[in-house]
């Protein structure tokens, strides 16, 4: 690991259950190797994705946030990702204004069959995050969030 990454970098993934979570499974079944940064939170649909999750994750120091759902028009719930893409694009454009690096947030569409594409998405985004290094977040001075305390519970 490069000098930048004194701590383990983490990408939070929000994946819809029907397409992208399946795509990540497909990538696994096909043994498509991926960097180990990503931690996936399963959500039913990208329509569940409140843009505030993105902001909160980045504010509290997630090094990257990756949201992936069904391709537009393929939503299991018909229209969830149509709403999602408006919200996600909006927050993507908003992040830099408040000093959060928009490169740390990526949203995309990967179907359950696209194991290889999933591998590419994860690999490319992981490389971006490796390059950017640790995310300082916002207001890291908040008490209780000190490294020592967190470490004892979550190391």
């Amino acid at each position: 690991m490069s000098e930048k990454n004194e701590r383990q970098l983490r990408i939070v993934g929000f994946l819809c259950n029907w397409c992208s979570y399946g795509g990540a499974d497909t990538a696994g079944v096909c043994r498509f190797k991926q960097p180990p940064l990503l931690r996936i939170i399963r959500i039913p649909c990208t329509g569940r994705m409140d843009p505030l999750f993105v902001v909160k994750a980045l504010a509290q120091g997630a090094d990257g946030v990756l949201v992936s759902g069904c391709h537009p028009k393929d939503c299991h719930y018909a229209v969830g990702n149509f709403y999602a893409r408006r919200r996600l694009e909006l927050v993507k454009r908003f992040l830099p204004f408040v000093g959060l690096d928009p490169r740390r947030f990526h949203y995309t569409w990967v179907s359950a069959s696209e194991g290889q594409r999933w591998q590419e998405v994860v690999t490319e985004f992981s490389a971006v995050i490796q390059e950017l290094g640790p995310n300082p977040g916002i207001g890291a001075d908040t008490p209780m969030e000190t490294a020592g305390q967190a470490a004892s519970a979550f190391a």
Partner: protein, 316 residues
């Protein structure tokens, strides 16, 4: 002023009450007035110090008002009227229950700028406004100050001095200061590096008291007593005083205003510690404009962009 009084006098029998402004504890501070009798109307004032956006009261007052068949009168400036438009769009206000008096607005005063512009600091006894000049009288005499010098930030970028959605417009139309959307203050923030922006907001927000004045003054913050920022279930923020929680509160506010903010600037005006919180929403308004060519509150029949979708949209 006289027109306003006369107009409302003539109509008063058909009105439950009129929401306007009256002189507050000093003439520099007009305060919202709920005028319930004909005599009350004499208290009504209208000048560039009438800063509060009265549309903030509409959802509540309509909910509580008895169905008497009488309308509720409300005085709205240009920017206030956009807020009304957005409230109508979202179904919080039944437009037909209102009698909207639109007041073309020359711009409102930034109190801090006014204090600086005044030579005297003595208590003000009288204020009047004519031809772009504020006449401010105190025991030290009367000073004339150009409104343009002491304009609030929100008014410098105003495109809608002339009210929309009004039943009647009283006063001559005011030429807008801007014909195109202006985001120069947003640009100024964006001119900073990413790192500087983060530091800038961390410093600004560190002052936040979480008094929620910005939220409560916002006409589009319709959650009122149920605001997510104070909710413990779900729990998005803690009660800590750190920047992170303050930041999260302001992000909740900003994202909830995304595609809805009518840029009235009340959030920023009321902040006791001078945080330019309206910039968050101005940025949101700009994104809504860029992505969906959408300006909240201008078309009462439109659907806010995050409440709908377009399958053919590309590029996002």
């Amino acid at each position: 002023m006289d027109t306003l009084h006369a107009h409302l006098e003539a109509l008063f029998d058909d009105l439950e009450l009129v929401i306007g402004w009256e002189t507050g504890y000093e003439p520099l501070r007009p305060t919202p007035a709920f005028l319930r009798s004909r005599e009350d109307l004499s208290r009504l004032v209208w000048n560039p110090l009438c800063a509060p956006n009265l549309s903030v009261y509409l959802p509540g007052i309509l909910k509580d008002a008895k169905e008497t068949g009488k309308k509720i009168g409300v005085c709205l400036k240009g920017c206030d009227s956009r807020s009304l438009g957005a409230l109508v769009q979202e179904g919080f206000v039944e437009r037909e229950r209102l009698y909207v008096v639109g007041l073309p607005c020359p711009g409102t005063v930034d109190p801090e700028a006014l204090a600086e512009a005044r030579k005297s600091s003595a208590p003000v006894t009288h204020v009047s406004f004519r031809d772009g000049l504020l006449a401010i009288t105190s025991r030290d005499g009367t000073e004339e100050i150009e409104l343009e010098r002491v304009l609030a930030r929100r008014c410098r970028r105003c495109r809608h001095p002339n009210p929309l959605h009004a039943d009647v417009i009283l006063g001559d139309p005011v030429p807008p200061r801007r014909t195109e959307p202006s985001f120069s203050d947003v640009d100024a923030v964006e001119a900073m590096s990413l790192e500087e922006r983060r530091a800038y907001w961390e410093e600004e927000l560190s002052r936040c008291l979480r008094c929620y004045a910005c939220r409560n003054a916002c006409p589009l913050c319709v959650c009122r007593d149920r605001c997510l920022a104070e909710s413990r279930t779900p729990k998005w923020t803690t009660q800590r005083d750190g920047v992170r929680d303050k930041f999260l509160f302001h992000m909740i506010h900003a994202l909830h205003l995304a595609g809805r903010c009518t840029e009235c600037g009340e959030c920023e005006r009321v902040c006791p510690v001078g945080i330019p919180v309206a910039l968050f929403k101005e940025k949101m308004a700009r994104i809504a404009l860029e992505l969906w060519d959408y300006q909240a509150g201008t078309d009462p029949a439109a659907t806010p962009p995050l409440q709908t979708f377009d399958p053919s949209e590309t590029g996002i």
